[in-house]
Each structure stands twice: as structure tokens, then as C-alpha cells.
């Protein structure tokens, strides 16, 4: 770990930023888990709590940003300290976006009130969410410990989530083609899956930020790209 600053209050500022981000991380994890549970159980009360929880994470992100700007103005951080502050800004941004995506999922819960609820599809979405949660947990630990190895593992792990999303899309398409009455539900579920896939992308962003904080440069090789959902589907091989 680093030596202490001559100005001790600077260390306290940086620590405070890291702790705020960690707190946001815990909130984001809970929002992901709750939003998918609300979806699976069609629990409207839980969905409402997710929407409220998103407001809280927004507020904390705002706080973190203010604190970061103040730290820059007050301490004029250089080198690793500057990357620390910039890192906190970027990570808090990604966590805030994860909150938004969880809220989007929660909002769809009320719309899913038909009879058609194939458990297999729901399980697929849940499984994706479990993977993303694992990625987020791991990357938050990497952030707290400035751990390159874990950050890189998360960065590479996103491929799997993208692949799952693509296969889920194909499956949803078959249901929609089978019976047009399934379309509404399937479209909602498709958006939910896409939201979860986007959460995975934010976890990847955080991994990139951790790498930048430690190394002072971007991850060099091109990111593995498994997600072909944007034009997937129809050209399935």
C-alpha cells in the first residue's frame, strides 16, 4: 500500500471517496438481486422498493461526485491520487447506471400480468442475473483491493454473459413465432435480459477503471466480443 500523505486530511478524503463507492456498490448489488426476484415472483411491492432504492443510489452518486470535485479543487491530486479520484468518479457513474437498469426491470414487473410465464425463460434471466452479480461482486472487490488479476478476470468474464443473452434471445424468438399472444411477455423479458447484459457491461467498465487506476493506462488488447444480440437472431447458424 501507499505511504501516507504529508497532509493527513488528503488520505481521509481519498478513503472517504473509496468508501462512498463501496457503499454504492452494495446498493447496486441489492438492486440487481431484488429487481430479478421481483420479476421472477411478480412481486409488485418489491419492485416498488427497487424503484425507491434507485433514487437512493442516485443521491449517493451525486454526493460522491461533489466530494470528488471538491477533492480535486482542494488537493490538486497528481498521478496515482488523480487516478484514484477519477476512478471513483467513473465507478460511481457505472454503479448509478446499474441502479437505473435495475429500476427499468422493476418497472416491467407490473406489466407482466398475463398467464403466460414459462419458468424456463424466467430461469434463464435469473441465471444471467446471477452471473452478473458474481461479476459485480468480484469487480467491487478488485476496486477495493486495487487487484489487477481479479479486474482482468471480470473483464474477460463478460463474454459468457453476452453469449447467454444471445441464446436467450433466440429462445424468446421461438416462443414469439409459436404464438403471437406470447409476444408482449417475451418482449418485456427481452428488455430485461438486455438490461442485465448492460449491467454486465458496466461491471466490465469498472474492471477497466480498476486497471487504469493501478496501471495508469487502458487495457491493451481488444475486448472479447461475444454479444451479437444487436443483429443476432435471424442469422442464427
Amino acid at each position: 500500500m501507499m505511504n501516507e500523505h504529508t497532509a493527513k486530511a488528503f488520505d481521509a478524503d481519498l478513503l472517504d471517496l473509496t468508501q462512498k463507492v463501496a457503499e454504492m456498490g452494495g446498493m447496486a448489488e441489492k438492486l440487481i438481486a431484488d429487481s430479478v426476484e421481483a420479476l421472477a415472483r411478480r412481486d409488485i411491492e418489491l419492485a416498488k422498493r427497487v424503484v425507491a432504492g434507485d433514487a437512493a443510489i442516485d443521491a449517493l452518486q451525486h454526493d460522491t461526485e461533489e466530494k470528488a470535485v471538491l477533492t480535486i479543487a482542494r488537493r490538486q491530486p497528481m498521478a496515482i491520487d488523480l487516478r484514484d479520484v477519477v476512478g471513483a468518479l467513473r465507478v460511481s457513474n457505472d454503479l448509478e447506471r446499474i441502479g437505473d437498469l435495475a429500476k427499468n426491470i422493476a418497472k416491467r414487473v407490473t406489466a407482466l400480468n398475463g398467464d403466460f410465464h414459462p419458468q424456463k425463460l424466467i430461469r434463464g434471466v435469473e441465471h444471467m442475473a446471477t452471473l452478473v452479480l458474481g461479476q459485480l461482486k468480484r469487480v467491487l472487490d478488485a476496486y477495493a483491493g486495487r487487484d489487477l488479476t481479479s479486474a482482468l478476470a471480470v473483464w474477460k468474464g463478460d463474454e459468457q454473459i453476452d453469449a447467454m443473452c444471445t441464446s436467450l434471445f433466440r429462445e424468446l424468438l421461438t416462443y414469439m413465432m409459436e404464438d403471437p399472444r406470447n409476444i408482449t411477455f417475451c418482449i418485456h423479458l427481452m428488455f430485461c435480459a438486455k438490461n442485465i447484459e448492460r449491467m454486465g457491461d458496466h461491471a466490465t467498465n469498472i474492471a477497466e477503471t480498476v486497471y487504469y487506476m493501478v496501471e495508469g493506462r487502458a487495457i491493451a488488447d481488444p475486448r472479447p466480443k461475444g454479444d451479437t444480440t444487436s443483429f443476432a437472431s435471424m442469422q442464427a447458424s
Binding site: 501507499m2 500523505h5 504529508t6 488537493r75 498521478a79 493506462r217
Partner: protein
């Protein structure tokens, strides 16, 4: 498969740092002793032409000592002994046949405390060109004084009172007068030893702005205690510690991703 090998760290190769342009000043294995004290230890540095190089480091690390090697000011300190090689435009400046007075005209210096002569503003600037015989007539001398004051960003403020004493100016103006005085003899290199540490923030900003303009025509080496100033004005930064040149590189790299732990500790304020 692309078989090309991309060399990313050009700096890692060879003894001379990869500064990309022709170096104006080259220092090799420069040592300075004050009596028994070994104040500067085997310094190697390339200073690129027409740019600002900042020397940073804690007090007493040898920044001023190094600066004084470049115009042989250490010659004036009886106990000082300099070894190694310093070249300007590939010419050894410690060559015994070299004219030191001419060298000091080519390498101007600006000090921490503005030190105008107790003479008129005009005389302050005209003095150097006069003793070096740069002007053949009063008209030519007037011309040199005017353009030097203009380049130093002072002319508009003093054009109506060129006969007033240089010491009647504000601190910031005095420092710009000293810069005009240095410029008047058409130097190629300008050394500045903490030129802003006695100035307020506005006067400092004016000098920094001036340095940015001057680097189009001059090679500037500045010692500064302000990390922010080094980051703002320089293209290259060299960090000294305990008489050693620890690390040198592009300023943007030095202040974002320094390689050496000691540099990192210093610029982030972790030095005890």
C-alpha cells in the same frame, strides 16, 4: 496474423532519453562538489530545443546547482568543482578556450527574486546589448529595447515611463523586466530559478503565459517548487532527489504515471 512488432516505449532504449527532437543542451555524468559535499551525482540529461523543461524536487536536491552548471555560474563559487560534460549545440561549454562572457550571453538567467539594476527601465534592458556591442546606433538600441520589452509582455505597461527606475515597478513587472533584460542579448537558452516564487497568482499567470510564448524561440529550463506550475508550463520534467536525477520524461507522463516510486511520492505529497 500481423507480424509487425510495435515498439511502444521508445524511451527505454539507449542512454539518451528519447525526446524526439534534437537536444539543445546535453549533460553527461555531471558531478558537482562544494568542497567535500557531493551535491550533484552523475547527472545525464537531454534538454530539447524550443521547449520548457522543468526541474523539480525537494529543497537542497541540487536543482539550482544543476542550473548553474549550464551557464558556468558555479565557476564563481570558489569551493565548487564541476566534472563531466555539458554541451550546448554539441559544443563543450567547459572547453577552456570557450569565452565565458559570450556563453552567458547565449544562456540567460532569471532569478527567484527580481533583481533589476537601480537604473531606468530602458537602461536595464539596454545594458546587455551595449556591453556586448549588439547595437551600432541609438536607433538600433531603441529597437532592441522595445522588442525585448514587447516579447516580455511589458512594453504596453511601461512605454510611457522608460526613464523611471526599474525598481519602481511591481514585483511581477520587475520579473518581466528581468526577462526582457535576459532576452535583449538574444540568448538561445533561458534559465529560470523559481522565477515566480515571490509573485502573486496573477503575476505568476502572466509569467507562465510568457514562457509559453517564449518557447517558440528559446529553450527554457525552469526550477520550480510548484508541481502545478511544472505541469502547466513544461513539456519535459526532471525530478531530482538528494543530488540524483531520479526520473525524467514527458511532463504529461511524469504527472500522471511516473515510473519511480520516489517521483510518485514527491509529486503526490508523500515525502516526509
Amino acid at each position: 496474423m500481423n507480424s509487425m512488432v510495435q515498439v511502444k516505449h521508445s524511451e527505454a532504449v539507449g542512454a539518451a532519453p528519447g525526446i524526439g527532437v534534437k537536444p539543445k543542451v546535453i549533460a553527461r555524468d555531471v558531478n558537482v562538489y562544494y568542497g567535500e559535499k557531493h551535491a550533484l551525482k552523475s547527472v545525464d540529461l537531454d534538454v530539447p530545443e524550443r521547449s520548457v523543461t522543468a526541474l523539480i524536487g525537494p529543497s537542497g536536491c541540487g536543482k539550482s546547482t544543476f542550473l548553474r552548471c549550464i551557464n558556468r555560474m558555479n565557476d564563481t563559487i570558489p569551493i565548487a568543482r564541476v566534472t563531466g560534460k555539458i554541451e550546448i549545440d554539441e559544443r563543450d561549454i567547459y572547453d577552456p578556450t570557450l569565452d565565458v562572457v559570450q556563453l552567458r550571453a547565449r544562456v540567460g538567467m532569471v532569478f527567484q527574486k527580481p533583481n533589476p539594476f537601480p537604473k531606468s527601465i530602458y537602461e536595464n534592458v539596454a545594458y546587455g546589448p551595449k556591453i556586448h556591442g549588439f547595437a551600432r546606433s541609438k536607433a538600433e538600441l531603441d529597437e532592441i529595447v522595445t522588442t525585448s520589452l514587447q516579447k516580455a509582455g511589458l512594453f504596453e505597461e511601461v512605454k510611457d515611463r522608460l526613464n523611471e527606475s526599474g525598481t519602481s515597478l511591481s514585483g511581477g513587472q520587475q520579473q518581466r523586466l528581468c526577462i526582457a533584460r535576459a532576452i535583449a542579448v538574444s540568448p538561445e537558452v533561458i534559465l529560470m530559478d523559481e522565477p515566480c516564487s515571490a509573485l502573486d497568482p496573477i503575476a505568476t499567470a502572466k509569467i507562465e503565459e510568457l514562457m509559453d510564448e517564449l518557447r517558440a524561440n528559446f529553450t527554457i529550463i525552469i526550477v520550480t517548487h510548484s508541481m502545478q506550475q511544472a505541469a502547466r508550463v513544461s513539456q519535459r520534467t526532471a525530478f531530482f532527489h538528494l543530488g540524483i536525477l531520479v526520473e525524467e520524461g514527458a511532463t504529461e507522463t511524469m504527472f500522471t504515471t511516473p515510473r519511480d516510486r520516489r517521483t510518485q511520492d514527491y509529486i503526490t505529497g508523500r515525502f516526509g
